[in-house]
Symmetry: C3
Subunit: 156 residues, 3 copies
């Protein structure tokens, strides 16, 4: 049986997403079973490029989804004022993989994407709003089941 790692990706910032996917792909490359549980802001990373707006959503849900479309992956303008533009520029310069490339690699290595059903419910998100690479929609009990048998569990 393979060793396991789980990551709860709660944050929607670019820098934290990159950290999560570097850990996930490195672990999967060394033959570990890796699950990422996307919840709250982390769901933005799974949204399709076009605005995740559908008729079944209420006004607040539409506003929220409009403001957080995945085409605008903005890291918080943190204490150093380093914008996402600067960060991407620096990553490219040091020949590091972009988030898109890391996510492609993750799928090749069978990293499992689990979208949190509770958060999806709050935001009015359904299967059609998220990228096809999502493996499963599940809640906290599914996460706990995975985490119980994992050697490494991180909340990012």
């Amino acid at each position: 049986m393979k060793d396991k790692m789980t990551i709860i990706l709660f944050s929607g910032e670019l820098d934290k997403a990159i950290a999560a996917f570097i850990l996930a792909t490195t672990a999967a490359a060394t033959n570990m079973d890796v699950s990422i549980f996307f919840t709250f802001w982390g769901l933005n990373i799974l949204k399709k490029s076009k605005f995740a707006i559908t008729k079944s959503q209420g006004l607040l849900q539409r506003m929220f989804n409009f403001m957080s479309t995945s085409k605008l992956p903005i890291t918080r303008l943190n204490m150093f004022g380093l914008g996402p533009w600067m960060m991407k520029k620096l990553m490219k310069k040091s020949k590091m993989a972009s988030l898109d490339e890391l996510m492609k690699l993750a799928k090749m290595l069978n990293v499992k994407y689990i979208a949190c059903t509770t958060s999806c419910g709050i935001l009015g998100l359904s299967k059609e709003n998220l990228i096809d690479e999502v493996d499963e929609f599940a809640g906290a009990s599914t996460y706990l089941g995975e985490a119980m048998t994992s050697k490494i569990n991180l909340f990012i």
Copy 2:
């Protein structure tokens, strides 16, 4: 012997507190022993409704406690500008439990609340400033003892 989970709740934001309590109550409902260690900003969640100000506190401590009373659980105005109002509204709409309800449930399920003595010391908080549901005041070594024998340890 029961399986255990520990959570360090360092953050004082509404969204992270909700994530912590969803995990805690789900785990406790499946018969796990759950401890939440409240430290730094996380202590705001444990403050009584009225301002946690007492005569023994210095000016800075009073200012701090005045600014962070638990009657104003403000989530950071994060990258999407979604205020706590919007968030609570969306949670209600999708029939999700509020933080207050989750905390009541947590107590019914015997989730243990540990308040960090070091942080309490910095902020001039004593037993009378915090809600009665706090089970224990303890430091990092108590946390480490719990975490050593737990299957899941998260820092939120």
Copy 3:
């Protein structure tokens, strides 16, 4: 064989750094093996006092390092508006060790400092820019190796 703990210190804020070092020193004092893996903003804590700027860095890297020198450990002006000045003042008043003192203690207790090579590459940081106490430069696979055999793994 000793019990182990690993901490990924991703954040560069004063309050989170203090939390990490309180946990690290308490664990090391009770005879655990502790490794802190400094990545992204966490690297700021390891920078030498003078600006970590060298000729080999490009303009963006210089700007970044100029803005985040370790002489200005600014915690994010979080929801309560509590600045780092207030925080340090309160810590001193309650006779708590400062971050500098905690870091000295950590070294006396053999807490291992690992600087993330990927982040160093992005920021153009080399050995000479960081304090001498850094034990090792390594990537995610080294972290995972440590974490696999640790009882407590936290992402801060």
